[in-house]
Symmetry: C2
Subunit: 305 residues, 2 copies
């Protein structure tokens, strides 16, 4: 399978230079995850042909407004457009309290259920386990409780090699082969050697979304070797002190982390409003890690590109 | 003086057909009032050259999201951009509770004070009394607590007629003339007849913003003779039953109200997302009240046009 990431916004703090705040859509095996939801995300979704009815999971990294002020509007629009399916909402403690209060004052009884999954602060945990993928939290070091998310496809099954396949296999025998075991005779001797009739599993891809964070080498533990890494680069390297003080990262820090983690591609975002032109940021990261791309709105990144 | 109204958004429910949700900027004597604040209002403000630093008063009509989900983002941006001036926030009970909870979870201590004025539900009251104008609430009949706002310039003072003016008047005498009284001699006899040395005051203008409401003839009490009336027309007349059920108004109802109130101009807005083309709505209102205009984004309406 492949993981794709569509950027809806990637500016920090507030809308500026025609750049919207953080939001992106991750798609794996036709399941759509919205990651963060800055103000105007539903408008950006429309602009970039994302059907909000298809989004069944929303993951919020933290409760700074540039990462979630669009959430209540999106939920309200889902309600107005007749959603009935459960929406799974993953985020920090406090998120549901805010949504619930806003719905109460608007007199809204949602026509769908919200399945809330609150993560524990500062601890990596498996937060979602679906048949073909898992999502784990990635603890961030920010000024308030904050978490990134690691999307990992599960190890795929071996594929049958149709050219070498014995005929008339039962469903049980097929599953046995796909799971990597040999087919046996009644006396326990090998009837078909698995590797002679199957092909290796397809690659299982991974994507790490690192939200607002100070540079923290321990994050390496959780992102090593991912195919695609999104990491914030709020500031250029000359503002490393400011980055430290405001719990953000610089271009160099993101580039060095990507290099140390041996990721395949790096997407940078969460740009400070002080930067109108983003080329200098990109250049600075590329000096550390060449395969770096700007999270410009509407861009799509795929693990198998 | 003149009152001007700049439309930032006027769609109902959610963003559709490139139309944003309700928000408008009212300007009187260089004081800027933001009336309602749908999601993305700060982006619309930038698009239409409204400096948010100039906005000192925000009035919210009710707590349906299409009228206030942009408020917390706007307040956060004011904070990030270094606002120190007090912001006066006028709205229904519950508004401050929501804002306070969101600021708490984002760890934000606002660098400016919010002066909250909560109105009483269903009762017209004087909610703001400034040197040159007043704002009163206009009770709406909606599914949750909802209020419109009546902006009225205060009666202006008489103007000195420089061609007929006696020389060497003291400041006290000038103010006496401006307030409409004669100047007197020590024995009480008239020294200068006011009307011979002054001109009538300039006209004092008025603007009524009627938010979401069922058609309610009693609203006439509060909007009679205003120069400019904004009224919702969520539905066309064939959906009068739906309007009644959802506590909204139709084109005909708004037009008839404007005619009965003898207003000078009517602006219609809060269009249902079912209407891509708004011309049929405008035509239907115009059949009842000719001087009607669509609240299209970026439009500016003035009481002295």
């Amino acid at each position: 399978m492949s993981i794709s990431v569509k950027i809806l916004g990637s500016n920090s703090a507030s809308f500026a230079h025609n750049r919207h705040q953080t939001s992106q859509v991750v798609e794996i095996d036709n399941i759509f995850f919205l990651v963060d939801c800055g103000e105007g995300t539903q408008i950006q979704a429309k602009r970039y042909n994302v059907k909000i009815s298809k989004i069944d999971y929303i993951l919020i990294s933290h409760l700074h407004g540039d990462h979630y002020y669009g959430l209540i509007g999106l939920i309200s629009t889902m309600h107005l457009y007749g959603r009935r399916k459960t929406l799974t909402l993953i985020g920090p403690p406090g998120l549901l309290e805010i949504i619930t209060l806003q719905l109460k004052h608007s007199g809204t009884n949602l026509a769908f259920k919200i399945n809330l999954i609150e993560w524990k602060v500062g601890i990596q945990e498996l937060i979602l386990d679906l048949p073909k993928l898992t999502i784990k939290t990635i603890p961030m070091n920010h000024s308030i409780s904050c978490s990134g998310y690691l999307f990992e496809e599960k190890e795929n099954l071996r594929r049958l090699n149709v050219n070498c396949l014995p005929e008339q296999l039962t469903p049980f025998e097929i599953k046995t082969l796909k799971s990597g075991a040999d087919l046996l005779n009644a006396d326990g001797s090998v009837r078909y050697v698995n590797q002679l009739v199957t092909l290796p599993p397809k690659k299982h891809d991974s994507y790490a979304f690192c939200s607002d964070t100070r540079h923290q080498p321990e994050i390496l533990n959780w992102i090593k070797g991912v195919d695609l890494l999104y990491h914030e680069t709020t500031f250029m390297n000359d503002l490393v002190q400011r980055a430290q003080k405001t719990y953000h990262s610089t271009t160099n820090q993101a580039g060095q982390l990507a290099a140390a983690a041996k990721v395949k591609k790096l997407i940078i975002g969460h740009f400070s409003t002080r930067y109108r032109d983003l080329t200098p940021l990109l250049d600075e990261v590329k000096a550390c890690f060449d395969k770096t791309y700007l999270a410009t709105e509407g861009s799509i990144f795929k693990t198998d590109d």
